[in-house]
Symmetry: C2
Subunit: 427 residues, 2 copies
């Protein structure tokens, strides 16, 4: 596995015979949400790499290849060319048509893929035509993750996306934490309280990562405590493009930042970077629909940290009980791996900030909750919601705000969640 | 040992009989360099704590106590009161007068000190009167670090200071990295290049530490790459108090910073924080006196890092050969512990940035070189000197500049060190 991510854009190479359904699989994966950003130039005989936005994964590069069963001398050359793309691939999708079966050309690709130690998923297509097609009649596939789908009907596509995320490289991330919000020369003010939760003499990793990301985008990071924020904003001589605050001082940061300046928090930025902000914000909106007796799953990625513990075990349950107007049933899970299989029993999953999970792991959990039809929110988004600052903290992400405006309104109308509950550090 | 340093000011408690020479020892330790910052109020019967600057250690708190052999009911109360100061002490100096010997009152103090697991040094005073006094006639002292001194003549005082440093708590530091240069509300611009030597997605620890230190002093940290420095200085609307640059972009930082703004580097700040800037700068001045055939010791605190290696093994030897105008003999040592015992054979010690050493370890080495009469410089100070920016990089430290002006002049006159040697990251 390559240590250096290629711009953090996941490269998916798609192999299969000429009629296995590679193109329709690409359409199914991208759905109506396709955004073709760039076509890598090539002849029709060359593999075609397309930069796409594949929700909720984010930017990916889909590399479509020639049919494995392309015949003749030219066909052989095309297949050889196709195998070259393995140098760039993070993950291989091997599309199998049950009607054509699994044969020498699939075996040949698998041998090349294994020689490079690349992860591979066998996509058994046309499940609508061959409902028994993936039942395992090809022993060569038995050692691979494999999934029946129908590119035509969309069956299995969400599960396939989750398998793709689960097979992504460990260091897979989005290309940037905040850089897409910035132009060169922009100023970003970071509000960093120095309290007992801050490690002695250092900065916590999310703060370091945002500063670094700002510098990498030729912008300027101004780091202040909350007490100096107003003074600095007055003294800067120009408005910053963005203020990023620690969640523990939301109220102060919102009060001291002019409304025309974008404002968010480290935890909101990382909810996006590590997972899928839109799904998590939709989860916050679902809090308004809680009723007494509902079951809630609190999911923490690591074993108990005294402060996280306080958030997850005391404050969040209290807020949610107030929102529901009565008693709720809470289960707590700790550690990595998938969410529990009885996920469907819950009305809401509340996840920790996932500082101990990588994007692959957190996004897998989010997609698992989506598949089960259970809303999922994380501490950072929920804290912003409880503090009444979620809309302000989403100001840099108007698309998320817009799509979720209606849902948020419902929650606002309920007006049951206290706006200024004292709380500790949320991340 | 207490985890939280009390303002990083080393607390030395001094015990001994009434005529053992405690007061004259304090005078000898502080010499002409005493600066009494504050007296802790107390009656004459109470121990007296004096905040002092004890060069090259920096700020310490010396706690003088009543004579251990104070007699009568009042005397007993005074001694009990004295033992209370052990709660605040980092280190105990037990002053023994060979003429009075070692007896029950010294044993009693030792028992209390050991119960608290505090480090203790037996200071056998009056070595001028009793040259045989420390020869070990008191078996109770055999397990302790002990040193003959004469508070009256100054004999052994430098060695005692080194023993004190060696017994300091591991986390002992100066109270601040740059905060003494700042007033609340001041702006500090940090120049942080993003190159291949920078860790992916993070900031290196010295950068984090300076940002944190700036925030703790109610000041504002503006973080920029070298390319944006001039733009930021123009755009700030007010001059910063201080610019701190990475040593790899000295020339750019000096060129882009107005001369009236203080400028230094992370490595110069840490030369002071980790050791003794004045001694290291004096060591840089000594480079001008090197002659062909001289022996140089390159001291690296950790085993080879490719970049440090390049600095210590290739670039620095080349610069020094050019300065000497001929071949030099280089020895390289790696790892912790004291410098080699044949230190006197060397004309110069060149030390690494000591990122893997704590202040106690680095200062011990500097004092060892001083005792041996061998100049010592570190990579950061030497790189600034070679680049011709040392004077500029010492602008925040006029006292160091002033005292060493003459020595630096000598080196400047030699004019043998190239001013713009391309080089890598110095820390």
């Amino acid at each position: 596995m390559n240590e250096t991510p290629r711009g953090q854009r996941l490269h998916l190479a798609i192999f299969g015979r000429r009629n296995a359904g590679k193109s329709s699989l690409i359409n199914a994966l991208t759905g109506q949400q396709v955004a073709i950003v760039a076509d890598v130039p090539g002849t029709t005989t060359d593999p075609v790499a397309k930069a796409m936005e594949l929700l909720p994964l984010g930017p990916v590069m889909l590399i479509d290849t020639a049919g494995l069963d392309d015949t003749g001398e030219l066909g052989r050359l095309r297949v050889e060319k196709s195998l070259d793309v393995l140098q760039k691939a993070d993950l291989v999708l091997l599309v199998v048509d049950p009607g054509q079966g699994f044969g020498a050309c699939e075996q040949d690709v698998l041998a090349h893929v294994r020689a490079r130690d690349l992860p591979v998923i066998a996509v058994i297509n046309k499940a609508d035509l061959y409902p028994e097609g993936a039942a395992g009649e090809w022993p060569e596939l038995s050692s691979l993750p494999r999934i029946p789908v129908s590119a035509r009907t969309g069956y299995g596509i969400d599960r396939l996306k989750r398998l793709i995320v689960g097979s992504a490289p460990r260091d897979w991330t989005l290309p940037t934490i905040a850089g897409d919000l910035l132009a060169p020369g922009d100023t970003v003010v970071l509000v960093v309280p120095i309290d007992k939760a801050a490690p002695k003499g250092r900065l916590i990793l999310p703060q370091q990562q945002v500063i670094r990301d700002v510098l990498e985008h030729d912008a300027v990071a101004v780091v202040v405590k909350e007490r100096e924020l107003r003074y600095v904003l007055n003294r800067l001589g120009h408005p910053p493009k963005l203020v990023v605050t620690d969640a523990s001082v939301y109220q102060r940061a919102v009060a001291d930042t002019p409304p025309e300046v974008l404002l968010t928090s480290f935890s909101i930025l990382f909810a996006r970077y590590k997972g899928d902000l839109e799904t998590l914000v939709a989860g916050a909106a679902a809090v308004g629909g809680l009723r007494p007796g509902d079951r809630i799953l609190i999911a923490e990625a690591c074993t108990h940290h005294p402060i996280a513990d306080d958030i997850g075990r005391v404050k969040i349950p209290r807020w949610l009980r107030q929102a529901a107007g009565g008693e709720l049933h809470f289960d707590v899970m700790s550690g990595g791996g998938p969410l529990p299989s009885n996920l469907g029993d819950y009305r809401l999953v509340v996840h920790c900030g996932a500082c101990m999970l990588n994007r692959r792991e957190m996004l897998s959990r989010i997609m698992q909750a989506q598949e089960a039809g259970v809303p999922i929110v994380n501490y950072g988004v929920l804290i912003a919601q409880v503090q009444g600052v979620l809309e302000r903290a989403l100001s840099p992400f108007p698309a998320v705000l817009e799509r979720l405006g209606a849902a948020m309104q419902t929650f606002d109308d309920a007006d049951v969640v206290p706006r200024r509950v004292p709380f500790g550090r949320g991340e």
